[in-house]
Symmetry: C2
DNA sequence: CAAGACTAAACTGTCGACAATCGACGATTA
DNA sequence: TAATCGTCGATTGTCGACAGTTTAGTCTTG
């Protein structure tokens, strides 16, 4: 009768997922720089697979916003423009406020401890002089908040945004000169969440994210990234206005 | 030399996009009911294309949340669970507050008039006794707000959410008994946006969306949709914690 | 020397094919 | 009788191929 003995749960072949992860990594780490072309056959050969899974993975990344598809020309790594950065941070600010308030509402002793532990990790990591790791652990903290908020769509959205943000940060370089600063600024945020006052929470999120936004924006402008007000890519699948046939 | 004669913009071959739109329509209109299996070969045959574009389109819809992919089993229309509805409305409330405030900030006489005209359209549509059309025009109004907010990511997100919402509404049936009610409730919202007070705006959005949320939730519970707290689908592509090699 | 025409290579979009796997159904066994 | 096993059709995952288009490079021409 098959006792529910544990769970080896064999690894799915799932080439598409793997390719998507690998591509994401490559983009986020800057190995595929913004604007560069993603040649399907090249990726396929390099990974030892055929083009079909690569295309499907590329489509996913396109929907996620890391790639842009130009018909008959292929996929390109999305270019970083000031406008993109502003859009990303604007959206992030919007959802992180919300997630933080939700997290406060759902906060348990365990989840609170998890957040505290993560702040400790941030402090410890600060001594390592490993910017990539620092970014990673920072991401972990904020992701925790979204996990506690307990809305899977919100979490997915954050992950998608985070991938783009990593691209930005990777390109721009380290964010703070003092890595301990990064750790310290999380404490009042957590305090506000523990206190549970929505206004205080959003104020702290605004300060926290807004600071990063301004910093990144400043650096981006120094690097003279294009503004990018042009239409760029038509984007998502819009539901056309058709005479519904229900 | 090709004078830049604007705009026929021939329908790109772009099979993937077309298939995605068609599939979206079918799902939203309930022709592919929640939980049903999407057989690649079947769709392909029916549309007269091969499986490759169908798969790519399905992957897009998966990322969008309309489909769920079970490895080695195929794609299934996402089941409607109470939890999904709550997540969708929660996220929608979050972004629509934000978009409305942004829209107020960006409001011009033209965009204001566009919103007013759309309310007129809503009133006119109310006499037609065409629920599908009513939903369509309602969607238009809210989409306008996101367009005015002028953040492409926000807009795309709204479109994605809207597709899921249509599925919900299509399944649950008409939302209001009095279609004029739906039109009237937009007026104070627009008034608040014109006034430009963030607090008043969010309050009105909360009321407006919250009302729909409660209505839909009530109907969903009457239909005894499953709660769906189970893990369901792992979801987005997470960036694994790897030793970065920069 | 620069602008344009032409050619060849590279690449995308799409297709059909094949092996591996899943699910159902009936046979087998305790 | 109920549970397990084996078989078979249906379906997915993946691949290689081919036509049409884009791109890069070369050659021509004013």
């Amino acid at each position: 009768m098959s006792l529910p003995v544990g769970l080896p749960a064999v690894a799915d072949s799932d080439l598409v997922g793997q390719v998507a992860r690998i591509l994401t990594q490559a983009i986020v780490q800057g190995r595929l720089p913004p604007g560069s072309k993603v040649v399907e056959a090249g990726i396929a050969r390099e990974l030892g697979v055929s083009r079909a899974p690569v295309r499907e993975a590329a489509r996913l990344l396109e929907k996620q916003g890391l790639l842009v598809a130009k018909p008959r020309r292929g996929f390109f790594v999305r270019k970083l423009e000031i406008r993109n950065i502003d859009e990303i941070y604007d959206l992030r600010l919007c959802i992180e406020r919300h997630a933080s308030v939700l997290a406060a509402r759902n906060l348990t002793t365990e989840s609170r401890d998890a957040l505290r532990r993560q702040i400790d990790v941030l402090h410890k990591t600060a001594d390592l002089d490993d910017p990539a790791r620092q970014v990673e652990e920072d991401y972990r903290f904020h992701r925790l908040i979204f996990e506690i908020a307990d809305n899977r769509r919100l979490l997915r959205l954050f992950d998608d945004l985070a991938a783009e943000l990593r691209m930005v940060i990777g390109l721009i370089g380290r964010l703070y000169d003092d890595p301990h600063e990064i750790a310290r600024t999380h404490e009042p945020l957590l305090a506000a969440i523990e206190a549970g006052h929505p206004e205080r929470i959003t104020a702290h999120v605004d300060y926290h994210i807004g600071h990063a936004w301004r910093e990144v924006g400043k650096l981006a402008r120094e690097l003279a990234l294009p503004a990018g007000d042009a239409a760029e890519a038509p984007g998502g699948i819009l539901i056309p206005t058709n005479g519904v046939t229900v």
